[in-house]
Symmetry: C2
Subunit: 486 residues, 2 copies
């Protein structure tokens, strides 16, 4: 991972009045200013269709920071008010992009230097292709001096809707920006525990020796939410659980936890190994989808989205196999759902010497209570030789005192630095779509969609999916034990 | 480990007025009565030279129990007063043993059953040979019916003074009691964490894979005490640190942590593997002792024992090698000392992939704060790729609520049951003496004896012993981290 100093930059945020900017980007910038992690020459340009003022943005920042339980530092807010400028644009109008370019040129003139230009598209993905075309048309796809200052595009998922649309989007973006210039944000990858997966795996020989099919019996990755879709009807109705979490975040987590050791810990080498892993996932045969994938919809969802025929899944579970020497024979179960019993994202490896004797597990807890838990067998004290499962754990909170940077702070700093380690490549995106394509197709024509109670662990079909591979979802147990550490 | 029910028994304690009986044996019996772990037909016979009364013993028990912070249960004390009887004896007089036999016969008559007869020699080892001869002469080396009730001999270390004297003692005892009848008590082996070593090693595949010279860089076993010899001048002057702890307890710990997996977890199979391990320790060449063994004496020791020429070591450290496929090339460092900086007994395995990259360790903490700690590398939070050592731990106290049985309770129950798993065999004792014999010889003729400050970590020569194998004693670090968990 590179350690380049952060160069002068202008961060242009499309959608400055939107939810993401208010909840994540602007507060993250506040904290980065506070930590003095931003370059000396730095400016923020907020693009808005509906109009806003710098003062309004500053008040949003103040509110957000104070909701973290911190009193906002007026000096930082004053400084931010000076470096933010608002540009009102009709995003479909090419002339407005020329005007945007003039604004950026003017900022650079005032600083007296060429600055990297970052365009953060915090707006719906449908608009991406059009906007990047117009950015390129206005020559905003390169910095003010070729080869010195760079232009970078930051985009949020979804990166397509299926394999074909992802391919199309990638091609469209590539007519304007090269792959090197595109930063696909996966904030899961920027979480501390996620970043720690590679460190843990490759810097700790004690655990490395057990990391293959000789000892790992199965791998389970869970992203469970208690909340429902929270009013995001339009987005969710065209996405669903499989696309929203499994195809994107959970495949990335799977790749980190199962990929081979890269030759060095640089961005390119890591992406190469992640891609190799994703490409090693055994293709799913069309007529086997029902055996390895389960979907579900929580009760009341159709009323919530006001569509009595909605076939959108709020729960999805899949069982994959990895066809390489390390993992052949080790089922990988992934599941996600809304309206479940707990909020928890975690990766669990279960170890055993002989089938049926699963006595150890290792869990990376991504959220909440970030940390690592190993369950092991210990002799019960006293006049007995019985064993009992006990836990060893390492919690970030206990070992590292102080406020930990939010994932979006890390995303912004890495994009400013030009470090692409924590961003998904187009090849990874395509490989991920390729894996789920047969499931998407089967579900698009099937009429089967089990429902489940809100507050449960999803449809009983998911339990069977695990049972058929002689596996039990671990959540009840894991959750209880994490509670102990709280 | 067998689960035989405890049969009727008479426990005869030689040295009932001694320190061990007052501090350990009688209080342990109190707690075993309380826990209803003793057989219905059970009697205690206290042998004394100097005379005492049952009432005096009961008061000692009450005092000891109350010093544990528990109020003594009068009903249990009353019951104990009924089952204890005192026999005054001249231990050199054969007739007194006949009188003892009559007492035991009388107890059995009153219970109307044959009872196993256990003889616990809680007296100095020099007297053992003589006493067992007289026990045998009085036919106390067998139960009242051959093959049904058994006679067992329980002895405390030291089991000899060197190889020759140990051999002699074993032969002397064997003229009166067979090997099967002799229970050599090592209370270290009866501690929960020690008992857990085999469970941990063989029931947890996650760690099993790393348990050999491909990943273990070295093994360190420490038994450190803050206290000095506490007035036990005569005992210590003829023992010293090497005999007192390394040759006995620490070699047993080494065997448990490095032995091959026994075919089953029964006493015989475990002892077979322990012996094989002890016999695989590379013999120490006479002219290499200075390279692999260090002794020391704390400052002020000679004044304490009133001998300005005392050559008794209060600190000893040795570096051994195990010549088998699993451990070839892995140094095993053992050290013990009195008057050191901390009280701690622990076993640490250090893991590394490449020499110089020791990034993991696993520590069995025998006392205090019994538990297991794994140190590992985690990514520091924030905008860095730096790593930091963090710890995962499992503490008995946190995972198992309630008072845990003292090691002597376990010793007594196992001896009553006839389970020899936690007792040292004569072959193990001889193999242990064989290892240290060249060191004992070299030290008996050398005039070199470094001193060290009380409250330090021993003589600097011990640091060099580790350094020469590119090892650093871990104590400072480990102790600090255990403190965190307290």
């Amino acid at each position: 991972m590179t350690k380049t100093p952060i160069e002068s930059a202008i961060l242009t945020i499309f959608g400055i009045t939107g939810d993401l900017a208010a909840r994540k980007l602007l507060p993250s910038l506040y904290y980065l200013f506070q930590a003095e992690l931003l370059p000396k020459n730095f400016a923020i340009v907020g693009v808005t269709r509906s109009g806003t003022t710098v003062d309004k943005l500053i008040e949003k920042i103040r509110t957000s920071v104070e909701s973290d339980g911190v009193s906002a530092d007026q000096a930082i807010l004053d400084h931010m008010a000076k470096v933010i400028r608002i540009v009102e644009m009709d995003l479909t109008n090419a002339e407005d992009y020329t005007r945007l370019k003039k604004e950026l040129d003017a900022v650079e003139d005032s600083h007296g230097v060429c600055m990297n230009r970052l365009f953060y598209l915090a707006i719906p993905a449908q608009t991406f292709a059009h906007i990047v075309g117009l950015l390129a048309h206005a020559e905003l796809n390169s910095g003010c001096q070729h080869g010195k200052a760079e232009s970078r595009l930051l985009i949020e998922k979804p990166f397509g809707y299926d394999l074909a649309s992802a391919q199309e989007l990638i091609e469209q973006l590539n007519t304007a920006f090269s792959e090197e210039q595109i930063y696909r944000i996966d904030h899961y990858l920027a979480k501390e525990t996620t970043q720690n997966i590679l460190t843990f795996r490759f810097a700790n020989p004690l655990f490395k020796a057990a990391w293959d099919n000789s000892l790992v019996s199965h791998i389970m990755i869970t992203a469970a939410e208690k909340i429902g879709i929270e009013g995001r009807v339009a987005f969710y109705e065209q996405t669903g659980a499989l696309r929203d979490l499994i195809q994107s975040h959970l495949f990335q987590l799977m790749a980190l936890v199962t990929m081979e050791e890269p030759k060095e810990l640089g961005s390119d080498a890591i992406h190469r190994e992640k891609l190799r892993l994703l490409e090693a996932v055994e293709p799913i045969h069309a007529d086997k989808v029902a055996n390895i994938a389960v979907r579900g919809q929580y009760e009341g969802y159709r009323e919530e989205v006001a569509d009595p025929h909605s076939m959108t899944e709020t729960y999805a579970a899949v069982r994959l196999a990895i066809d390489n020497d390390r993992w052949r024979g080790v089922p990988v179960l992934l599941r996600t759902g809304k309206g479940l019993a707990e909020k928890a994202t975690e990766i669990t490896l279960v170890f055993c010497e002989k089938p049926g004797a699963e006595t150890n597990s290792l869990t990376f807890r991504i959220q909440p209570n970030e940390g690592i838990v190993v369950s092991l067998q210990a002799k019960k004290p006293g006049f007995t030789d019985e064993m009992q499962e006990v836990q060893m754990d390492f919690l970030y909170r206990n070992s590292f005192v102080g406020i930990q940077p939010d994932a979006y702070q890390r995303v912004l700093v890495d994009a400013l630095k030009g470090d692409k380690t924590l961003f998904a490549t187009s090849e990874e995106v395509l490989a991920s779509w390729r894996i789920v394509e047969p499931i998407l197709h089967a579900w698009s024509i099937s009429k089967e969609l089990p429902t489940y109670e809100i507050g449960s662990w999803g449809p009983s079909e998911a339990t069977n999916l695990a049972h058929n591979a002689h596996i039990q979802w671990p959540m009840d147990k894991i959750t209880k034990n994490f509670m102990r550490s709280m």
